[in-house]
Symmetry: C3
Subunit: 471 residues, 3 copies
Amino acid sequence: MRHRYFSVEPAQQRAALALYQGVKDLPLLCPHGHVDPRLFADPDFQFGSPVDLLILPDHYIFRMLYSQGISLADLGIPPLPTAAGAPAPAANHREIWRKVCAHWHLFRATPTGIWLRDELADVFGISLKINRANADAIYDAIDAALKSAAFRPRALYERFNIEALATTDAATDDLRQHQTIRDSGWNGRILPTFRPDGVVNIGQAGWRANIERLSDLAGSDVHDYASYIKALESRRAFFQSMGATATDHAALSAYTEALSAADASAIFARALRGEASEKDAARFTGHMLLEMARMSSEDGLVMQLHIGSWRNHNPQIHAQYGRDMGADMPIRSEFTKNLKPLLDCFGNSPALTLILFNLDETTYSRELAPLAGHYPILRLGPPWWFFDSWLGMTRYLDAVVETAGIYNLAGFNDDTRAYPSIPTRHDVWRRVCADWLAGQLVRGFIDEEDAQGMMRALAYDLAKNTYKLDA
Amino acid sequence: MRHRYFSVEPAQQRAALALYQGVKDLPLLCPHGHVDPRLFADPDFQFGSPVDLLILPDHYIFRMLYSQGISLADLGIPPLPTAAGAPAPAANHREIWRKVCAHWHLFRATPTGIWLRDELADVFGISLKINRANADAIYDAIDAALKSAAFRPRALYERFNIEALATTDAATDDLRQHQTIRDSGWNGRILPTFRPDGVVNIGQAGWRANIERLSDLAGSDVHDYASYIKALESRRAFFQSMGATATDHAALSAYTEALSAADASAIFARALRGEASEKDAARFTGHMLLEMARMSSEDGLVMQLHIGSWRNHNPQIHAQYGRDMGADMPIRSEFTKNLKPLLDCFGNSPALTLILFNLDETTYSRELAPLAGHYPILRLGPPWWFFDSWLGMTRYLDAVVETAGIYNLAGFNDDTRAYPSIPTRHDVWRRVCADWLAGQLVRGFIDEEDAQGMMRALAYDLAKNTYKLDA
Amino acid sequence: MRHRYFSVEPAQQRAALALYQGVKDLPLLCPHGHVDPRLFADPDFQFGSPVDLLILPDHYIFRMLYSQGISLADLGIPPLPTAAGAPAPAANHREIWRKVCAHWHLFRATPTGIWLRDELADVFGISLKINRANADAIYDAIDAALKSAAFRPRALYERFNIEALATTDAATDDLRQHQTIRDSGWNGRILPTFRPDGVVNIGQAGWRANIERLSDLAGSDVHDYASYIKALESRRAFFQSMGATATDHAALSAYTEALSAADASAIFARALRGEASEKDAARFTGHMLLEMARMSSEDGLVMQLHIGSWRNHNPQIHAQYGRDMGADMPIRSEFTKNLKPLLDCFGNSPALTLILFNLDETTYSRELAPLAGHYPILRLGPPWWFFDSWLGMTRYLDAVVETAGIYNLAGFNDDTRAYPSIPTRHDVWRRVCADWLAGQLVRGFIDEEDAQGMMRALAYDLAKNTYKLDA
């Protein structure tokens, strides 16, 4: 349906369709996401079964099923090796698929429901409704497609018309897969992104081991704060040499603090000795955001900040199944006060770009748009996670554009590990923008020239410029 | 007007009307509210004058009139016996009614205005506009109706097509009215709801007396924490034997805390001695929410939690007129952190249902929908109090459905003490849902089958299942 | 375009246009704003160049340009005399204008963009689109107009059909300009507003000097708290004698506290000695809000409270350019708890009107509307600053009317220093209200009589009554 999702008011629908058609064939830019680079390192990569592809990695899907009493074991999710006594996961993928389809009404009017329906139609050519009756037919059709050469990730890259795709990689990743991709001579553009959380969060399990690994990879012993900073700079340079244009940072809050060198060194030393407190950890994270801003204003890597997800909120699920199991919960966020120390130092820095994401929609109009409408370093990331939905994106445009304009936005990113859902996610964004701009156009807030310029910016240019993908 | 309140866009209006007509004759389920059971205990109950029925018990009405300078005395509200020097209330009900009608423009575009207009039209058959000129004619028509047998509560129960109606009853209520109803052989289904706030809030005036009464009713001396818990369990069992399927709990915040048995006992002992501090009270309330969740996961009573109303905000009104005088004010709420101790213990409990209500709309998309979209015990109550309005309900659906779906919602409850307004309140909810679903349908997010299934669920099934009314 | 901005749904558009046409010729009431009284004191006042008029005083414009990397110097903004090493400002106004026009796409879909476009069309008769190509033609047309007698402020006052316009004046202003206006015999109504922030905020630079000036103007030595209060009362009486009907107060939060006379005196004494702490300052501000409410309930001046702007958030801009440079940022606000001490004392005061403004939209439905729907002293100011926009005003009506009705609103005020933009700002408000009411009308929430009454109230009556401009 060409005009799916658009307003049904005839004038607005016509305008939306015209705007959408002007951009629907533009290439896709995917500057932030979690696709595994192995998909592209191996030219013959296969996705496995429909359940391997669509269910097991998708915590959007199993969180909802779990909320309605379906166990993760019944969905085939393997428990952690350390989880004593956890139930054995279902192994029959067809049966798992049938169970999912039988409960698919749970996803009515949700983005997950819309994405999968559109992905089946647009990527797999399957227009059957997902339900119990059609479960087997759909399973067979997906399964057959996945076995074909047309569904190798590199072939889909071409078919999806992707221009660039960034992965997200730990600072301690050796980027071997990225090296393999580069060596292969394939002309797809897969970029790494520098994500240092594992070596920054001194309170996190495994931090000490990550520091060892950082030493190894940086080729220098990290034994104090100075050598730590040096090793990080070295890793950033390596990532940049491998094509990275951006970094990514996650934190519970946007708290920033400029520690003195002495304080930073002392906390780091305590952390190395395993003696850092929770308060040390929070202050050090806040300080390292400033330090990363300093590095970005020197090396030019675009800085992304994702705020406000309380990870692993359900201890029972975490103990049995680990991370990313649909149990991450948003908390209230604050930027005006928390970011001030960083902005005091770097807010007017000509070489820095800082993209902000969070899960508290109240910040859109109250803090994010006013801040981005003044500070030259700031850009607003698209609606994140739970808000990457038709209404979520509409509320975002409603809340930020009047104050920040659209040119302080970072365009779209799909932020997904579900590679075949990428075209659908971009399509929804482009349709939302077309419909929103059409509303502005038919009511006379903007004219045709404005609408077309804004449409192209939102669909393509803003992501390209913000993430420096034109290099 | 068949299509009142629906979108005027023709396609959406047609779809909304069709969806609405599919459910408008379904019975009404009223699983949470404040109707007095005496209405049903006495088969000949009469409502009194139009002012007795519509004005004196309705703080929605007199709060607005008070905000515009009309005194409660002029509206006939009696002062507390303890309020020395309070003005005598107006006694002439016709004059009070005239005053209300003369100021009825204050209620333009408010739910109170809409409810009363629709109630007059749909329940009383009065289509005159409420204003000064029509005051007497309306008064006379209501008055005449109220004297007729058709306006006895039991007759209205049949006419309203109510299937079940729950009252809200203190843990220390002997449920005598409910017993009378059961003994009468009438086949209406009136259920009690267990509300233990008066025996849980150790900081509240009258708590000690309530504990005495609890001892009496439970037939055992409540002299320590253990006997207190036992008495509560005994009262729950009694309520359940009288038909209760649910409990209800009100608190200023969603703070929960798992006290050790020793700490709980110590605080309880201090409370009995009249020595509990404010902090004790807050911790004890938070602990008792866990304890009530524990009991519910054992006895199966559905647990409701109403959060975020600052009661009796205006001390002058409180001193002169007491509680429920239109001076309760919402405060900001938080769930992700506050509920965690309870969820850590009972979040995955197969037998527990916890329904959340609050007065801070920012929690809908940021906390409530993500939590309900994961934890199997959680359901979201419908928009509460100030938000039980066309726009309030629309914002609620906009904010929660994309993340939680509709199957993690508890359907509708009217939460009213204004018995004759019940059909109107349900009608508004059903119309909002029909219009919202029609919007989803005509834009292609859902299809006809989805829309009809969701419509029926929102209008009837979700309330029935969530509150276990199918037993 | 007669129906610009209205909904395009034909029935709603027709209704909106009819409502709008019923009020578009009503006089403009401007009860709160920042127009300089000198404009009216000098009958021959000229605005200077188009850049003097439209760019240099408008931080809405240069904040957005600055956010996209354009320096304030390039826009002609003069640095503070104290700012050593600041770049010299551009002096060629035509070049500055060209630069602004070349970047005007940044303002697409923003209120700034809409205001300037409508102002050029409606006030200057210029219908050219603002862009690089048209820059010179527009500059010349504005420039020519500004030189004509028709563009003297007093002539515009008549043409704009302004009925009354209030300026905002420090408590230490001698109101000389206002005296000149009164003496001139001109029949425009320009009122001062009493703004005591400079003598209340004991932590603010310059407070001591302001107290000296207060002593001089009040003709009595302010040497302790009692003489300070007396001096303030004397200034209020003077402002009132000069036509003032209102006061205005700004604070970071709505915190209020009733200090004892002893505590207030002690803090004031510490402040005089330069020894007041930050906490002293916050408590004193909170206390003075109560004190001002007390004075207002005696002298009848309407009290305005503007909450939640973190002023001068960017220290580099503040050091080089000073205040009001587009770097003021909203913060989260709270009223239910913070205002309680004030409401406990004066919430039921028959003679007091307190108008609330803030920059946190979450307070609209959660706190402001419930408070205003009960306390007789409260009125809600229109959406402030970043929210004085089409969508901002729509969200405000959506959020407050169902709970507070419209009769607890203060109508509109333009809050601008950009005098020629006043008709445009009022026009947008009137169109928003017409469109919103039309939506209520065509869906059957209100009838024609209601809609027309509400339209007139929102466009004119509420401002007149709330600010006591009918005196």
